[in-house]
């Protein structure tokens, strides 16, 4: 359980938290809401033992967040929006890194990562999309793109990205096309632009198949 007693945090002269107290029993799903500046993030960072309170106490399963930080860290999962997201890492590298932070032995880390990717349905998602697209003749997947989890850049030889975009759009597939506000770079690379497909947690294999089918239709129309 979580227990917060008279928690106070002062930044300079301003009190971000002023004697906050609450308890969350085990197995409860607790929504912690409030307007911007109410002190939600400050409270969460103290609970995650990332920030020292000015006054007051907080416990995670009985562990004092100021005195037993390592114990607290092993007990919690914290998913912030973007804080601590390393966008240069692949999904597998990311999970491996954090598993290592939790002192998981190397031999076990891969299994943990695989299981978690399976749990959220991301197993091989990225590789799958890149593989599927690369296998279509005349389609060039921009190298290096493979190392980013969520975006694949590609071109269809001899077809302007805008024409690719229109065809894909008509097939119900939304992508971003053009120079992506990097015209000088595109000029340097000698291309008119690129097609960018983004994948999120909400996409599944059927979406990738649709993207591939639409790209094939585009190729048939323009290249043949």
């Amino acid at each position: 359980m979580i227990a917060v007693k008279d928690l106070t945090k002062v930044y300079g002269k301003r009190a971000a938290l002023d004697h906050v107290s609450f308890e969350v029993p085990e197995r409860e799903i607790f929504g912690f809401v409030g307007p911007n500046g109410a002190g939600k993030t400050t409270t969460l960072r103290i609970l995650a033992a990332l920030l020292e309170p000015t006054e007051g106490k907080a416990y995670i399963d009985g562990a004092d967040v100021t005195k037993e930080r390592e114990k607290v860290h092993t007990r919690i999962g914290y998913m912030p929006d973007f804080f601590g997201v390393y966008d240069q890492l692949t999904a597998a590298e990311y999970l491996d890194f954090y598993a290592a932070c939790y002192r998981q032995p190397k031999a076990r880390r891969k299994k943990i990562a695989d299981d978690l990717l399976e749990l959220v349905g991301l197993t091989d998602r990225k590789d799958q999309a890149v593989d599927t697209l690369s296998r279509i003749p005349d389609v060039q997947v921009v190298p290096g793109g493979q190392h980013r989890l969520s975006v694949i850049s590609f071109n269809v030889d001899g077809v302007h990205p805008h024409d690719v975009g229109t065809v894909l759009d008509q097939h119900g597939v939304a992508v971003r096309v053009g120079h992506h506000c990097a015209q000088p770079l595109m000029d340097k690379l000698g291309v008119a632009g690129t097609v960018r497909a983004s994948l999120g947690l909400y996409n599944d294999k059927a979406d990738i198949d649709r993207l591939a089918a639409a790209v094939k239709a585009c190729r048939e129309m323009f290249v043949r």
Partner: protein
């Protein structure tokens, strides 16, 4: 054919695909009397239109540049219909074409322009694709700018 296929064939008719792949009059003129560049910074399309005007007649017209299939085909077809026209006829033709791709009004076209309007008809498929209308009109805007600027080589931007 799926709905997507039908709409797309309206936009990418064979004549568009053909002119997009093999643009006509795709080169610089050696002795132009007028030229201008068209540039759409949003999509990156660039076109340079060259004119050789003798008296009030367009003796020769050509273009260079890079763009999508629509803008390339539009420029190619434009050079075909403009060759031999008087400047006045050419302006009237642009007005008619512009109205047809944007859904605007340009009044009744003269009998003499009917064949050329028909020739440009395949491009009016962009009407159903608002973001692509600029692709079809960019070379015409460059043509109009060339008429105004002579050899000064004005750049007209559309977005």
């Amino acid at each position: 054919m799926s709905d997507a296929g039908m709409d797309l064939r309206e936009l990418y008719q064979d004549i568009i695909l053909d002119h997009g792949r093999h643009p006509r009059n795709f080169h610089a003129l050696e002795h132009p009397t007028h030229l201008a560049r068209g540039h759409n910074p949003l999509c990156g399309d660039r076109v340079t239109v060259y004119l050789a005007i003798e008296g009030d007649r367009i003796a020769d017209v050509s273009f260079e540049g890079r763009g999508c299939a629509i803008s390339t085909a539009a420029a190619s077809l434009m050079t075909e219909v403009l060759k031999g026209k008087t400047v006045e006829e050419a302006r009237a033709l642009f007005a008619q074409f512009h109205a047809r791709v944007t859904g605007g009004e340009a009044g009744e076209p003269s009998e003499a322009l009917q064949d050329d309007i028909e020739r440009l008809e395949p491009l009016t498929g962009v009407k159903a694709f608002p973001v692509r209308v600029k692709c079809a009109t960019l070379p015409w805007h460059a043509f109009e700018a060339a008429l105004k600027s002579g050899l000064a080589g004005q750049t007209v931007k559309t977005e």
